[in-house]
Symmetry: C2
Subunit: 352 residues, 2 copies
């Protein structure tokens, strides 16, 4: 197999610290399995924006487009107006590279403390597939009489049959290799147009998979069930905004944002997929070695899987699973191990 | 004080069972404090719809409009297409009676088991104010090429300055009598139109209340914090859909949907306010005495408060607080006490 080119976008805050550990872990696995990974750094983020006035210039985007995958850290800094980097970089690349599946596992790993009393790892192992290119994220909307007493602000969710169907199909295919259960999460009793399209499409695709069990759960009830009965779920398909909301809750349930991984997948391969921890740039703890790189390393594992290296991916996961129980806390000085030490320990396990 | 007329809409499933206990508790408090409450029953819900083809006929709506308050149970039955009763009754009355504040306390009561490990009652005492008449609940949207491969379904959230401002103002007024902290929950980095209106309005109102501390939290982060740090919050203001989602999560945190109360308030008094437990009709356990009436009784407490009887309201709360710790579980046969016994026990405490 020829070399695989990975574009590295460490970004701001704790982004560089955690991605450095993910690179370390990938390199350890690459050595072990004879995989040829080539890393190319892109210094995008707050500094780049302040200096150049651009978030992702077209030539950089063209280079990124040629990578086999993108490993992303986090963006966001108090010096940049909120939303600029998130929309200009994260949301922009998800859309520009047609990464229509945002895959977010919610898995409680053994030895990780969860806020949910008595929850056991075998009760919490689901995958949330969030539609990643449309819905309320399209930026459609407007103002009437802005700033006056009669102001109206509208915000539109736009859902296409194609967009909804391809996400749902991905969910059913994924469920075939898992516990064969797919749940649609929406708010169809209120969002009657968008919900109707989602429900109809879901039922039509489900009819092609008679062996897969399906159900429907309203997004409000989903929040309740994620906390009280996560074992109800195997594969969950949902829209962009609901997916954003329930995956943060899922991260809480599985022990914290620091542990949550994600892949922005373009399953057609027409452009690279992008892998990123669910957490943000956490400027409050940046540069102190207090960030947990597990989310980044687990995202890199999803990347290796996507690049055709399932054994290497498994090794990264096993490394994280071996090291996490040694931590005193999942974040901060109480971790009892620096970000870098965590990465070294994972790399050591992988090398064994 | 002359008699206060309360329209009782027990509805479907467990609705009648739980509201009967709320009526019992109110009557006990009314006797104790010399309050004159007159109950008028309205048999709306699934049966009514099946027989008449109408959800709320105009003449019934006119009668309801004359009540001093409405005590609502729950609607929904497998025999009725999903959404018909919810939209035709609950959502319709919230809007028709301009009940623009949906007040939902999230309070962990002593002795109630919460799924959140180690959470103590003093860490969980917030009030979520959900805008209740607009946002994504207005039913705006449509289809293009419905049913075909090029179908597009749109769903619009409509937010007015007036609607947003009156909800936010209610939150600031409420915070004055509490811990003087108001949090805005939205997704302003993505929903840039609606979010901008909410943030601008929030900041303008906040400027009039220099003694009140404010902050802003994205809805996804809110889900995480509600589970891990509910003590961060005092009064939370948010839009209709986000409020729907985070209050179900809040209900989970405080021990279950069966315990969660709500008031749909029309603070101007131009039409009656409506009080309802956050739970649904739970047809699976209807008629067995397994429903927890706490949510309904606590909603009735909010009603008594709204009707100008704060001591009576306190008594209902104290009754629920006294009886809840005697339960073996918060719902189902394991409760160890029937729905009716729970109501009798609360009434007995109130009568003491
Ligand atoms: C940073 C933000 C724009 C982003 C989102 O809303 O998708 C984040 O919350 C996420 O979940 O990846
Ligand atoms: C029944 C349903 C329409 C309703 C809502 O979405 O508002 C319910 O979930 C609630 O929270 O009161």
């Amino acid at each position: 197999m020829s070399a695989q080119r990975i574009a590295l976008v460490p970004g701001d805050g704790i982004g560089p610290e955690v991605t450095a550990q993910a690179v370390k872990a990938c390199d350890a696995a690459a050595r072990r399995f004879g995989i040829d990974l080539v890393w190319e750094d892109y210094e995008l983020g707050a500094d780049y924006w302040r200096i150049t006035g651009q978030v992702v210039p077209p030539d950089v985007e063209q280079e990124l487009a040629k990578a086999d995958a993108i490993l992303f850290g986090a963006v966001g800094d108090p010096s940049v107006p909120p939303g600029v980097l998130e929309r200009g970089l994260v949301i922009h690349l998800r859309t520009a590279f047609d990464q229509y599946v945002n895959l977010r596992p919610v898995k409680l790993l053994p030895g990780v403390p969860t806020p949910i009393g008595g929850l056991r790892p075998e009760q919490c192992d689901l995958v949330i597939l969030r539609e990643n290119t449309e819905g309320a994220y399209v930026g459609a909307g407007g103002f009437v009489h802005r700033g006056g007493p009669d102001e109206i602000a509208t915000q539109e969710s736009v859902n296409t049959r194609k967009g909804v169907e391809r996400l749902i199909r991905h969910g059913f295919r994924l469920a075939l290799g898992r516990r064969k259960h797919v749940t649609l999460v929406h708010k169809a009793n209120i969002l009657t147009y968008a919900g109707d399209l989602w429900q109809r499409t879901f039922e039509e695709v489900a009819a092609e998979y008679p062996d897969i069990e399906v159900d429907y759960v309203h997004v409000d009830a989903m929040c309740l069930y994620l906390v009280t009965q996560p074992e109800r779920f195997d594969v969950v398909v949902t829209d962009n905004l609901f997916g954003d909301i329930i995956t943060d809750l899922g991260a809480a349930v599985q022990g914290g944002l620091g542990l949550a991984a994600s892949g922005n997948l373009n399953p057609t391969g027409s452009a690279p997929s992008m892998f990123e921890p669910v957490h943000g740039s956490a400027p409050d703890i940046a540069g102190r070695g207090w960030a947990n790189p597990a989310g980044s390393i687990l995202s890199a594992a999803l990347m290796l899987e996507h690049l055709g290296h399932p054994e290497a991916a498994r090794c990264l996961e096993d490394g994280v699973k071996a090291v996490l129980p040694r931590l005193g806390a999942m974040r901060g000085p109480e971790m009892g191990m620096s970000t870098e030490d965590f990465g070294d320990a994972v790399a050591a396990v992988i090398g064994e």
